[in-house]
Amino acid sequence: MKISCEQASHICNKSQYKEAGFWEIFRLRLHILTCKACASFTKKNTALTSLCERAGLNTLSEADKESMKKDLEQRF
């Protein structure tokens, strides 16, 4: 039932993308109860996720960038 800090951080990262299973999260919670470092990591990690969501980030798709690069190169 016990997991290492490394495993805990892995589960934590996965859970930021909703890819962690129920038991994994259960184990993470259990680990956090006794591990201060992982508790603080999880808190910060979750905060980062919510910041990214709040900012509503946009990126150009790779295809768009490729075509941009080509257009730009023609003018060099």
């Binding site: 990262n13 993308y17 980062l48 910041l51 709040r54 980030l57 150009l60 257009d71 730009l72």
Partner: protein, 184 residues
């Protein structure tokens, strides 16, 4: 002060997303924003000889983009703005007959502040992402911003899942540190 040099061949990789976010926040249309970024790069290339090297490359490009955004609004306003000046109390017939008081901004609304704050947050995050090593920033963007699945990213980049999670972990840790300095 160190003088800066222009490297147009790296512009798209380094600044396209940053400029794109800046533009989207101002014109709120992805297609128009994309065109503006493209025009900015062209304009930058054309006037590269005027670049004195006082400002960093990105600052210089943002300055150009700013002018492009202004030009864009000038253009869309001149077409109809010249044609007629409309002072309508209500533009849609739905709310015809309603009173002016109802259109006053709600003083208790915090939406305005939030929009501005979120925009600044977006720029801060983009700036931090651009400081990451190339590979980390690519993977982080695909995963977090484009929301691609682990499997798709692995296939596209030819890496295995545990590899991907290590990269994500490093990127996230670096971003936490960077945002800690620049945002909080």
């Amino acid at each position: 002060m160190a003088t800066h040099e222009l490297h147009p061949e790296t512009w798209v990789d380094q600044y396209a997303d940053y400029l794109f976010n800046y533009a989207v926040a101002r014109v709120s249309d992805a297609e128009i924003a994309k065109d503006l970024v493209q025009e900015t790069f062209f304009a930058g290339l054309n006037s590269a000889k005027n670049y004195k090297g006082d400002a960093a490359e990105r600052t210089w490009l943002i300055a150009i983009l700013k002018r492009k955004v202004i030009d864009h609004y000038r253009k869309i306003n001149s077409n109809k703005g010249k044609a007629e000046v409309r002072i309508n109390y209500n533009s849609d017939s739905e709310s015809e007959g309603d009173w002016l008081e109802e259109q006053v901004a709600d003083p208790f609304s915090k939406d305005g502040d939030n929009t501005i704050e979120n925009e600044e947050l977006g720029m801060a995050i983009q700036e931090c992402i651009s400081k990451l090593p190339q590979k980390q920033s690519v993977v982080f963007k695909m995963k977090t911003i484009q929301g691609m699945s682990t499997e798709d990213i692995c296939n596209e980049l030819g890496i295995n899942p545990s590899n991907l999670w290590v990269i994500i972990h490093r990127a996230r840790t670096a971003l936490m540190g960077c945002l800690n300095q620049n945002w909080f």
